[in-house]
Symmetry: C2
């Protein structure tokens, strides 16, 4: 009986955690992690301020938990859908298309969560900066690895530099997100798609095998 009561409380706590993190991800994508406050979250979700505090321990822990939760959403929305695409130029293109869809479809209301919080914390120091920097390095490494696999699989020429190509692809994706959110201009996704396909065609062993457009 005592155990059942404790389990019930733990379950309610986890449900409240998910409720809170769903809202903090939304807020942070629009206003940044600095837009989070315990009192505001509590009021919006009909919780007490100290109740939210008890679940996360501090404002910084709430920010870190929000970054972790957004990482899970990113993995599910961007990486997971491409999991079964075989290595090659087509897999690189599919990964970029998946990212553009994640941004365009507003998985988070303010566009890419990480674009928002990375710019917010890039010049600061501390645990939140470090968590965001690690997420950024992980994503960069994943794109580079996808390019490297494509070259090993024979889909890209040996002259393709994985680090350079990944940098250029990510740059195009990031600017599409910024333009779209800042100006409400979805045409930026077409520009990014055009640029990405242009880069890939220039190093693909079978350019004709690539799609004509990306997302759009």
């Amino acid at each position: 009986m005592g155990t059942a009561r404790v389990d019930g409380r733990v379950e309610r706590g986890n449900a409240t955690r998910r409720l809170v993190l769903g809202r903090t991800m939304e807020i942070a994508s629009v206003e940044g992690l600095g837009g989070l406050s315990l009192g505001r979250i509590a009021t919006e979700l009909n919780l007490s301020k100290s109740g939210v505090f008890a679940l996360f321990g501090s404002k910084e822990e709430l920010q870190l938990a929000t970054v972790r939760a957004a990482g899970s959403v990113f993995a599910a929305q961007v990486v997971e859908p491409v999991r079964d695409v075989p290595p090659g130029a087509g897999r690189v293109a599919a990964l970029c298309a998946s990212w553009l869809a994640y941004s365009r479809d507003r998985t988070f209301p303010g566009g890419c969560f990480f674009a928002a919080v990375t710019a917010e914390f890039d010049a600061r120091s501390g645990p939140v900066h470090d968590a965001i920097a690690k997420a950024h390095l992980d994503w960069t490494a994943y794109v580079e690895e996808t390019v490297r696999e494509a070259r090993i699989a024979g889909g890209l020429t040996d002259g393709a530099d994985p680090a350079q190509l990944a940098f250029e692809l990510i740059a195009l994706m990031e600017l599409a997100n910024l333009y779209s959110v800042l100006h409400g201009d979805p045409a930026a996704y077409d520009r990014a798609g055009t640029g990405i396909l242009s880069r890939l065609r220039s190093v693909a062993t079978d350019p004709a095998g690539l799609p004509e457009r990306l997302g759009g």
Copy 2:
């Protein structure tokens, strides 16, 4: 004598304005425009809070004045040095090199001021968003125009799409700034320079006339 006294007060007011805006540009490039507070500025600069308030009228006006001041710095640091370079692919390259130097040399301590505040306000609405969005459009239009002039001058092939090329060049510059600030990795500027020159060579009528490296 009465006139001299009034002039002295106006001059002191202008000097204080410049003092305040110099500091708010620094703060905003690191922490965003949300990091500005009248009390903090007053404390740091040994002014009274109400004195700072009297100079700007409201926090939002302080933010808008900071954006305008940063626009002047950007024009002086990025655009002005390239003013006398004749239209052509070399002028486009010089403009990009000027931007990379502006970011690399930390004209603002947190890297490009506009990269920081654009990501902060892109998903919000209001006068500050609008001022930032206009600055972004102006810069984009200036890069496009520089590309267009280069084409008219015969430096770029007729196939070069100014809007697409400007988008790709700006994307590379922006990501170099982000990487450098986030990871303290100056090699990102080399990656951006390599990408920019690669784009320009692919559409230049005289690729050999372009520099071998950009900034670096």
